[in-house]
């Protein structure tokens, strides 16, 4: 015990250095976790978090029996599943393409260029969508009309919300997400390519039998980790693309919590919905991480 105390004193500077970060986490992460109890209470601002009355599972029951409950869950899941399905393979393909550019300057330029959209804010990305897809003066609709079609009100139609969300997401992050795969390809032993060349392999064969197999471990890992967050909604972006006309598909759990909770002040009810999602998320993320670290252990050998 004395030794332990001595060690604590010896390391006092270390505690001081980590204190600010720890305080931050306590205030912005752990105190809200304590506040989660309002999901089981009837929160009244005057009585505070601790002083409000308990109502048990009432809010959860209301949510599960509400007609929009199914729509919210399926919208959230579908948006994430479709997004993962279409976005996932693209960074892999991109890394193989970039890895096979022979001109080094073009390679560097392409890499620099495809990372740029990652640094553009979600607001600006959504803004560009609104401008390009405008029914009256957007360039896309000008092109459609010029080709003899009819102008489409993209941002206000439920059928277009998911494609717009997914395609703009790919444009913004496919390049950035390819970095990991490019790094994996950079780690491939050059002797493998040389040996393949001597055996008369074509470049396409090298892609198939050297590049892709080297990407599989990274890809599997990314896939598992992504699956862990299928119910966590990227509220910030969905909210920006949400309009009165596309609510049928754009109304996801996150935007509902925002609109009803902060918009209409139903704190306890939306906190309950949020908690339900977070618990499922927690289970999924933890299992995803467990699976991925098991696999990592295996792929080391």
């Amino acid at each position: 015990m004395k030794k332990w105390l001595q060690s604590v004193v010896d390391n006092r500077w270390l505690y001081l250095l980590i204190l600010p970060a720890l305080l931050y986490l306590i205030i912005f992460n752990y105190m809200p976790m304590y506040g989660v109890q309002i999901a089981f209470k009837n929160y009244k601002a005057v009585r505070g978090i601790a002083g409000s009355d308990w109502v048990g599972l009432k809010h959860f029951q209301t949510f599960f029996s509400a007609y929009y409950c199914g729509r919210l869950i399926s919208n959230t899941l579908l948006l994430n599943v479709l997004s993962l399905l279409f976005s996932f393979p693209i960074p892999i393909a991109l890394s193989v393409i970039i890895n096979n550019i022979r001109n080094q300057r073009l390679k560097k330029f392409t890499q620099t260029a495809v990372y740029i959209p990652h640094f553009i804010s979600t607001v600006v990305l959504a803004g560009i969508m609104y401008i390009l897809l405008s029914p009256t003066n957007g360039i896309i609709n000008h092109a459609i009309v010029a080709l003899g079609g009819k102008s489409i009100y993209f941002m206000n139609e439920a059928d277009w919300f998911r494609p717009i969300y997914i395609i703009s997401g790919i444009w913004q992050s496919a390049g950035w997400n390819s970095i990991l795969y490019i790094a994996a390809l950079a780690g491939v032993d050059p002797e493998l390519y040389e040996a393949a060349t001597i055996d008369g392999a074509s470049k396409w064969q090298k892609v198939l039998y050297i590049d892709l197999p080297h990407l599989i471990p990274t890809a599997t890992m990314m896939l598992i980790l992504n699956c862990g967050s299928l119910l966590s909604s990227s509220t910030e972006k969905a909210l920006l693309l949400q309009t009165g006309g596309n609510m049928a598909t754009s109304d996801i759990i996150g935007t509902y919590v925002y609109n009803m909770g902060l918009g209409s002040g139903q704190f306890s009810y939306t906190a309950a919905i949020n908690l339900f999602v977070n618990v499922i998320n927690f289970i999924m993320v933890v299992s995803a991480n467990t699976i991925s670290s098991r696999m990592k252990g295996e792929t080391l050998f």
């Binding site: 390391n11 500077w13 506040g35 640094f119 609104y130 000008h142």
Partner: protein, 308 residues
């Protein structure tokens, strides 16, 4: 020299499939570059073109009827400049604070000390579970940060992911022998941190500065949720109103286009152009920072992938 010549097959040796392959790769690269860069290029040329030509879809490949009217009306808009100044303050303040807090925590977590397991757990757990939007909002309100400019500086100043990144960097790049040497010379842990670890951590500080800086600059969410006073809002939250809605604050844009325009249609067109200019003005800082420091980025991701 000779080894190199052997390893690299000459052009004649290439089989025809490889030529097709190279052509296909080149074609794909051109398509990828076009898809990535064209929207950005289009915004840029539209921002300096004549309003009517842009809204009728005639500006596609190069600027037409070059004018700075759009930029002029953005310049005249006080709200945009005020929020721009706010964003600069939030970004610079937030990034400096984030770096100090993150590096301190990362250094501590790279060392051994009593209670390390518990503290590491407290850090990691926040990556898996959070209280959610509403309890977080109530907490921020209860601690008195609602409607305070400091909320934009403080929010997100500890990203556990970034702490892990920095910790991995410190424990893999700074040899333990240095610590022992410093210890023998009688340096305390804080002296070791300030005089040895920090000067050797240039790369990771650069990576984190850009990660935090860009995240702060591009954040509209904190302003939307925690700030109610218009004069405190950061640029991105103002932009949400101007850019990302169907009505897109017609009045606001009309007011900035004012005076010289002849009629309503002209006004509306001018407002449209102003949007392109706003996009350019608000995006340039983040992209410029990236282009200046791009060497750091790839390194940052690599460090992350080592530990994953």
């Amino acid at each position: 020299m000779q080894a190199k010549a052997i390893a690299k097959p000459s052009r004649q040796q290439e089989i025809w499939q490889d030529r097709v392959f190279n052509v296909v790769v080149l074609a794909l690269v051109i398509i990828i570059l076009a898809i990535t860069l064209y929207p950005l290029y289009l915004v840029l040329i539209c921002s300096i073109s004549d309003a009517t030509l842009v809204t009728t879809g005639q500006v596609t490949l190069y600027p037409k009827g070059i004018t700075m009217l759009g930029y002029n009306s953005v310049m005249e808009n006080k709200e945009i400049w005020r929020s721009y100044a706010n964003s600069i303050f939030y970004t610079v303040g937030g990034t400096v604070l984030s770096l100090i807090v993150t590096m301190g925590a990362a250094f501590t977590l790279s060392r051994k000390f009593p209670g390390k397991r518990l503290i590491s757990f407290l850090f990691a757990f926040t990556m898996f579970f959070n209280g959610g939007m509403i309890p977080t909002f109530l907490t921020v309100r209860d601690v008195g940060l609602y409607n305070s400019p400091w909320v934009c500086v403080l929010m997100g100043c500890v990203s556990v992911w970034n702490v892990m990144l920095a910790r991995t960097y410190i424990s893999t790049n700074i040899p333990e022998a240095l610590y022992e040497a410093a210890n023998l010379d009688g340096a305390s842990q804080i002296q070791y941190f300030l005089q040895i670890v920090l000067p050797l951590s240039g790369t990771i500080v650069g990576v984190l500065a850009v990660y935090y800086g860009v995240a702060k600059w591009n954040d509209y969410w904190t302003g939307l949720i925690y700030l109610n006073k218009r004069e405190l809002l950061p640029l991105q939250t103002i932009l949400k109103e101007i850019l990302a809605s169907l009505e897109s604050s017609r009045e606001l844009l009309m007011s900035m286009a004012s005076d010289s325009a002849e009629n309503d249609a002209e006004l509306l067109n001018r407002a449209q152009i102003a949007k392109y200019c706003i996009i350019v003005v608000s995006t340039v800082p983040a992209v410029a920072l990236y282009l200046c420091m791009q060497k750091f980025f790839v390194k940052g991701v690599m460090i992350g992938s080592v530990k994953g």
